[in-house]
Amino acid sequence: MVRFINAIVWAIAAACMLFIVSLPINLQAHLIAGTIVLAIMVVLKLLRPGGSWRLIALALGMAIVMRYVYWRTTSTLPPVSQLENFIPGLLLYLAEMYSVFMLVLSLFIVARPLPSRPPRPVVEADLPHVDVFIPSYNEEPKLLADTIAAACAMDYPAERFTVWLLDDGGTVQKRNAEDVGAAQAARVRHDELKQLCADLGARYLTRERNEHAKAGNLNNGLAHSQAPLVAVFDADHAPARSFLRETVGYFAEDARLFLVQTPHFFLNPDPLERNLRTFEKMPSENEMFYGIIQRGLDKWNGAFFCGSAAVLRRQALEETNGFSGISITEDCETAVELHSRGWNSVYVDKPLIAGLQPATFASFIGQRSRWAQGMMQILRFRFPPLKRGLSIPQRLCYMSSTLFWLFPFPRTIFLFAPLCYLFFDLQIFTASGGEFLAYTLSYMVVNLMMQNYLYGNFRWPWISELYEYIQSVHLLPAVVSVMINPRKPTFRVTAKDESIAVSRLSELSRPFFVIFAVLLLGMVAAGWRIYAEPYKADVTLVVGGWNLLNLLLAGCALGVVSEKRERTATRRVTVNRRCEFGNGQTWLPAMIEDVSVNGARVRVHGRDARELAAAGQPFIRFVPLSGGEAGSLPVVIRNQETGSDQSTFGCQYVRSEPMHHRLVADLIFANADQWSAFQKSRRRNPGVLFGTLWFLRLALFQTYRGLAYLFISGGSAERAVTGGARP
């Protein structure tokens, strides 16, 4: 009853607001009211009051957005009689309305994200049996070894969980392939992994044929196991020791729970972070999703399965005959299906696995294409907004998640709209300079502020736009193709363990330079117009400003596609852990300062550390957090700094035995709190103003860097040509 009254009150208030917003007031009133609303939002943002104030600020922002929508709808569309203006004008209008619609959806989802859940302790005796699946297709055994070792080292009674390596790279089909070389490689892989599993205490499982890709592989795993819970880790997602204990408790609480999802934490930067050098200081792209959006989805029982780092209930999966495989994003599809059957999901906001993400721009785009196409397939085949069984909030949640991937269309339209005017003199937006200033500027500022309000700690200003832009160029054709031919896309595994040995331009960089050049021409056209057509300078200034914004984004993207050479593939995580350094006989007290997947930095106390290191095969020895006896890990010294009574060594692991993998996994993956601490160190909100200024600087520098790479690569190509011509 209270809920009902509450809903009625809300509806009346919202209707009043809608009424006030849709009054056809004059420009002056909008400008002044907009300024006042903006000022209140700024004050609220600076004071950061919590609770209802956050929602009041968002309501204020929404009022300005709705006023913009009203104005845009009622007075800016070109007349239908001028088709050459009307059609692009309508497209631009639809693109803007899509953006507003997505804003409203995301407001609904993240209006009040659930706070982090407290852990659910479970009595030791009640811990359920778990099958841990690690599906693999073509990953290196070395990478798999770390993951399997970390999985096996999880803090959980050994008899209650089984780690399964589900190998799709060594299926009977692959081993008997027509291509003799490929068949031989598959056989070698099969045997090697089988041995590795045996050594590490995991079970190896493969199957006859590679049907239904990852979903088929997982279903094969389901068919060969029987524990009530199933944990899934991607081949490169090594779990922390606490993973199972942090997650299985929820299943005891709710019999209809099918999923506990945890965030994906990455040890390496994505291409944007690497090339723009923001990994250490700016929150990662996926943190917006895992830090806010999944929590928001969780409020509406809409957190969905992300393919890895999750625990699922076998009973639920059996209801749908395992994982769904119509789309190439089997994870989300499975979640939609189970949600619609009344199963619940839970999201645990704590990184419990650490993984790798695509390092090169090309594989990054490959991964995003899969996501975008998969989500389009879900939209096409499952159509969440009208799917029976989903609650209304869940429908909105899935709408947001799937429709999000249409962004390449509006992004492309925003990119080219100003050029319609600058190059072809089309009037696709009928407004005077003053109106544009009053309505569009206030809308844009409010939009930035709302985004900052919602995601400020997780996403800095303009970064979303940059990510969308760099993806749009290649995602647009992918999304169009899946729309035309929804069954065509097939599952492709994303390569994640590449490294960039030399600085170079990405193989996908060409369109970015072309677009940049076109936008630059647009600026020239704008300048010429201001000079030659002073009677419409106001409109030209506004459109030119818009084009300038696009140019800044495009310039920044040039930096993204200019791949910077990098020594280590993964970043170091500070651990500060005691150990001993020695050669098997002599041991010196030492401290492991930080670790990465490939090596560690060790500070050794004692004057003769250097001699010791030079003397023979050095080891580091430490007691694993998983318990047991101290183990020795052989290393190679890569570099060193020597002080008076202490030396610091940069070491690379030498992993020759399964035990070594366990030790490395224990070093890196044992303690999930390190990852949280690292993430926290980046979660800082620079604010709209400083964020914008920072982005401006970044964009200018990256434009320069991108152009420099182009010049160098052009030069080297030329050299190569002339070099080849020489006898």
Binding site: V2, R3, N6, A7, V9, W10, A13, A14, M17, F19, I20, V21, L23, P24, I25, N26, Q28, A29, L31, I32, A33, I36, V37, I40, S52, W53, L55, I56, A57, L58, A59, L60, M62, A63, S75, P79, S81, Q82, A111, R112, L114, R117, D298, K299, W300, N301, P393, Q427, T430, S432, G433, G434, L437, A438, E533, P534, Y535, K536, A537, D538
Partner: protein, 785 residues
Amino acid sequence: MTRFLAALLFPLLLAGAAGAQVAPFDMSPERPPVQAPPAAPVPAQPAEPPTSPVAPAPPPVAPPAAANAPAGAYRRYLLPRPQFVLAGEIAERSWAFHVTERQAQSPAEIHLRYLNAVVVAPEASSLTVQINGISVVAEAIAASDRAKDLIAKVEAGTLRPGRNEVRIRAVQRHRTDCTIQSTYELWTEVQPAGTFIAFADPEAGSLSGFVDVRTLGPGASAQPRVTIVAPSLVHTDNAGDVIRLAQAIALQSNLPGYRYRIASAPAAEKDDAEILQVFLGAAEELRDIVPDLPASGPFVGFLPQREGGPQRLLVSGTTREQWLDAIERVVAPVSRPVGMQRATLTTEETRLPDAPMLFGGGDTSFANLGIRSEQFSGRRYTSSVTFGMPADFYADAYGQARILLDAAYSDAVLPGSLINIYVNGNVAASFPITTRRGAVLNHFPIKVTMRHFKPGLNEIMIEVNLRTAQDEACLPGATADTTPRFAIFDTSTLVVPRFGRILERPNLAELAGTAYPYGLAAQPVQVATERTDLASLSATANLFARMALNAGRALPLTFTSSINALRGSDAIFVGWAGGLPAGVLAQVNVDEAAVLRWASAQRGAPAASGTPGISVETWREQMGGGLLREWMRSFETWLSTTFNITEDMLRFLPGRDTPFAPPASAALAVAQGLNPVGNGVWTVFAAPDQAALSAGVESLAASDLWSSLSGHVTTLDRSLQSVTVTPAGATSFHQTQPPSLANYRLIAANWLSTNILSYSLLLVVACLVVGIATSALLSRFGRRH
């Protein structure tokens, strides 16, 4: 921005036109040196667009020495306005006039006297007159040194008994200059005193029934006078009936320019301006003053015209009842029943076509508004339309009308050309032509702000400034080129959306536009004036004649002297400062003490001492101020030029009015306020003395100044040439439409657009409530921990 530019440009153009009468280099050496004649009736402001609400004084007219009309011929003067200037490269006026059957059959000549600017090139300029579509005059414009009289025969059959249409059109080109600015120097003034149709038939002047009032026309004088002689006024109380008759004459003639005088006996000396004498009363009362009174009555009709005298109309009967009945019989055909909505405002005697009433929510084609499709080869095309708005129009702050323009321009037209829209003389839209290579505009939308719309008659002028390379080069003879550059089509439409409709009180514009609220009165309008004072009565007659024209009906009225009887009704007060009942001025928020001082100041008594010029503002200005103030000021300027934002917009509610104190320079003050009960409107016409009252009301009612009445108080200055408007602060609303959410929404939009802080507050409060409600909702719906 462009709007701002246009606003900036306009005064420049005016300034440029100020030197228009300097003769340019003359290219005809055989002619005597060009020299403006000393008495040349030069229009005071030829550069002003013809829409100017304040017409300059009619110039003194030299006696028509050159007019050699046949002796004894009857002249039907034609021009409906005392000031008749055809300005710009293209100008056209058309209107309707009536002639009697006898006149229509008489051989006739048309006489036209005009004077034009020296810069008008005769070889490329022409003046044409059409009557009923038949061309009667087609002349090169060549009368720059002195007024020229054109005489042309009106072929038999051209004139029709009853209604006729006349169209005067001037096409003018500059002698030497090809700039757009130079077109403001082009004007031809047609002079009323020399412009008439002369009927050879000596009996053409004999009129018969009351309907022939409409054939009187404007007369030779700039201030045609109608005298109503009612001997009975001396002893009986029938002033109301006399004023009903004045209204009937106004409605029958449909000309707003007549000045009415009420007398109890004919004037001793002859008045040249007098066009009509009306004798009203019982036969025996009139017998002494009308020697040729017909022997038997009742009688309503014209008496034979006397040599050199005005037409004489008799409204009489053997008894009082009979002549009162006669008045009602002449009123009835020209009045409309109350409560019947008008489709048009009847303006055809001054301007064709009748202005359609626009109530919003529809579109009106230019064909219906009187703009014809035409091609244009000059550099500044102008054309205008008129239409009527209802009295309860309430959308001046937010409203936007649209013109869907069907037009075309050739490839000679350069970008930077402008289409400007003026509403009632104010820039309302400015749309730049930006494409080269010409274009055909098909229902091209131009947004026109409704800020300057007002109740009653409105005028929209379309001005197209065409820049061409040819004009920039300006080779000799360039202006005479007749290659069309621009075409406008009558399929263009004016779209006035639904607008907020509610009456604001006080608002004199409603009175000026449609005589609201008195024009709708079914019961007699209460008038308080000194009935015995003929000057006050004449003023009232002028007032009602004008209101009758605006309302389209003759208003019933009664005179009251008891202010208590008027407390709960709509009433009009006409009086001089000392003669108004106590409390009336205070009720309409006019400072009574100041009015008394005003009256004494006019009589030459020393004005009550005040200390003008000392205010905080002036001190602040003198102090200058620091950098911050300077910065604030420049920001304010930027805001006001870019967005028209001024400080007074930043308000929650309209400010309380301080009582109005008439300035010493005012001859007449018109003030409006609510009546004490609050259910009606009191309008007060006050002047320092009787003479100023009758002169002031007469000038106001008989001229275009009437349409400038607006706001809370409007004062007419002592020259009787200009008005000053004091806008109403706090107003109350009076509902006219059935309650509907759609109308309330538009009313709210307009009110909130003028009280912007209230809108902001409302918006913020709504957001606050929505935010809190959402917060409550979120803690009850979905998961929570």
